[in-house]
């Protein structure tokens, strides 16, 4: 088992967001998490990487409990993880090139020349070649998102966590990003968790899809399984037909 989430609970004030949520991700697998906004998808990703501490429950990665790690061990673990933030979270006082180089500068023994080569390579992959010197404020929203992706993949991580990587992107760029996620998985054997609302993307990139509903997992299965499900809540979300899940509530 590569990543295992065991019964996590997380509340923010009165809001009980995650309610005993469990999920396992196999090595080399791409798993998409879908679900309505505010259901705790991003909280889940941040909990996996240790940015949020659960009220109870555990996250195990490579046989270690993330929240039991000492700070140096936690940073060592994070070097193996790439995280694509929902709104890119680029460092706005640095150039795009410096942003992509940030993770690489934490690798011992890497030369400045190698860093610059790797930066150019990663920016080219996301169609941002030549933007090294530009500031994030000079990029469009979609370009910023792609720069965030370049930063996440620069260190060739073992795990990639994508928080809505294609939201707000045009269809062509969405296809490019989907292709890139598939490529990372096929060529480098990356284990990926993708939080998305975009069902076309989810079908395209996922080995399995999990639906998060009311703080726990409502459904896990392959894209074919989810297409065939009779669960009205899952069907209602996937097909964009809220009336189905409303009938269940009534």
């Amino acid at each position: 088992m590569s990543i295992e989430i065991r019964g996590i609970h997380k509340s923010f004030g009165e809001d009980h967001i995650l309610r005993g949520f469990s999920l396992a991700v196999q090595e080399g697998e791409t798993l998409s998490i879908i679900g309505p906004s505010g259901v705790g998808k991003s909280v889940t990703l941040k909990t996996i990487i240790g940015l949020i501490t659960p009220d109870s429950g555990e996250v195990w990665v490579d046989g270690k409990s993330v929240h039991a790690l000492l700070l140096p061990e936690l940073f060592e673990f994070r070097r193996k993880v790439g995280y694509v933030f929902q709104f890119a979270a680029l460092f706005d006082s640095m150039s795009v090139g410096e942003n992509v180089a940030m993770g690489l500068r934490r690798i011992e023994g890497i030369t400045e020349g190698e860093i610059q080569k790797r930066v150019s390579y990663c920016l080219n992959i996301v169609d941002l070649g030549g933007t090294e010197e530009r500031l994030p404020s000079e990029l469009s929203g979609g370009m910023r998102k792609r720069a965030g992706l370049a930063r996440a993949i620069a260190t060739r991580p073992k795990y990639l966590l994508y928080d809505e990587p294609t939201t707000g992107l045009d269809p062509v760029t969405t296809t490019t990003i989907d292709g890139l996620i598939n490529r990372m998985s096929e060529e480098l054997g990356v284990t990926a968790i993708v939080v998305t609302h975009n069902m076309a993307s989810a079908y395209e990139i996922s080995d399995r899809i999990a639906m998060l509903h009311e703080g726990s997992i409502r459904f896990v299965g392959t894209p074919d399984d989810i297409r065939a499900t009779d669960d009205p809540v899952v069907k209602g979300f996937v097909e964009g037909r809220p009336e189905l899940s409303r009938e269940v509530s009534l």
Partner: protein, 245 residues
């Protein structure tokens, strides 16, 4: 009351973490020099502006108070003693609580609400080592430097004012200045400035890290950093006076 205790606890936790990350020189070291410039060098003009007018006003008010009762050269004594012991370090720190403390809180607060601090952590950087330690060290180093400039300019402004407006000669002013001067006063001023640098930058970092809720949250964090920083400066000022004088 509970919120106050919680804030002190969180502040103490941040301070302990900052001390613990001092050994990560590879992270904070390269960031220190640019911050020495932005926190220190760029703050010198405002500090000098304030102390110029403070020195002038002190000389005029001393002359007004002493006329007919105390010899004129006591103007030099009062300007020197007051600028060095109190107004130089404290007014400089209060001005920098506005400039430096607010700047740090708003910068880190913006980084917090736009997930840039989360991104730092995700990239295996300790944000305390990367953001807090170099700022606090820059403040602890540069506040005394700025204060030295302030003291010199404050006394010089009082001297020039005495010459130009108060009919006091240079020998008279210098005689008064020397009368009560003690090098310990300068040490006292520098110790205070060092502690004010620690407080202004530390409080700015703390409230920046605590920011939440978008632009409004950053605004609140900035305001709190300035208000709390200024209050602690005044409390520390009294503390040092009681302990060291």
């Amino acid at each position: 009351m509970l919120a106050g205790v919680s804030t002190v606890g969180k502040g103490g936790h941040l301070a302990v973490r900052a001390v613990g990350t001092l050994k990560q020189v590879d992270i904070w070291g390269p960031r220190l020099v640019p911050l020495l410039a932005s926190i220190g060098v760029a703050s010198i003009p405002i500090a000098l502006f304030i102390l110029t007018f403070t020195g002038m006003v002190l000389a005029i008010q001393a002359s007004y108070t002493f006329t007919g009762t105390v010899p004129k050269y006591f103007v030099g004594a009062l300007v020197g003693k007051t600028v060095i012991l109190e107004l130089g370090p404290v007014l400089t720190a209060l001005a920098l609580a506005g400039r430096v403390g607010a700047s740090i809180a708003s910068e880190l607060g913006t980084m917090r609400v736009t997930e840039q601090i989360d991104a730092l952590e995700a990239l295996a950087y300790d944000p305390v080592a990367y953001l807090v330690v170099p700022r606090v060290l820059a403040g602890m180093f540069m506040f005394p430097v700025i204060t030295v400039f302030s003291l010199v300019v404050g006394v010089a402004a009082g001297w020039i004012t005495s010459l130009a407006m108060l009919d006091i000669t240079t020998p008279e002013f210098v005689k008064g200045l020397k009368l009560f001067f003690d090098t310990y006063d300068v040490q006292f001023a520098l110790i205070k400035a060092w502690s004010f640098g620690l407080v202004v930058t530390g409080v700015g970092c703390f409230y920046g890290f605590q920011a939440s809720g978008g632009a409004e949250g950053v605004g609140h964090a900035t305001t709190r950093a300035v208000v709390v920083g200024s209050m602690i400066i005044l409390v520390l000022d009294a503390f040092w006076a009681a302990v060291l004088l």
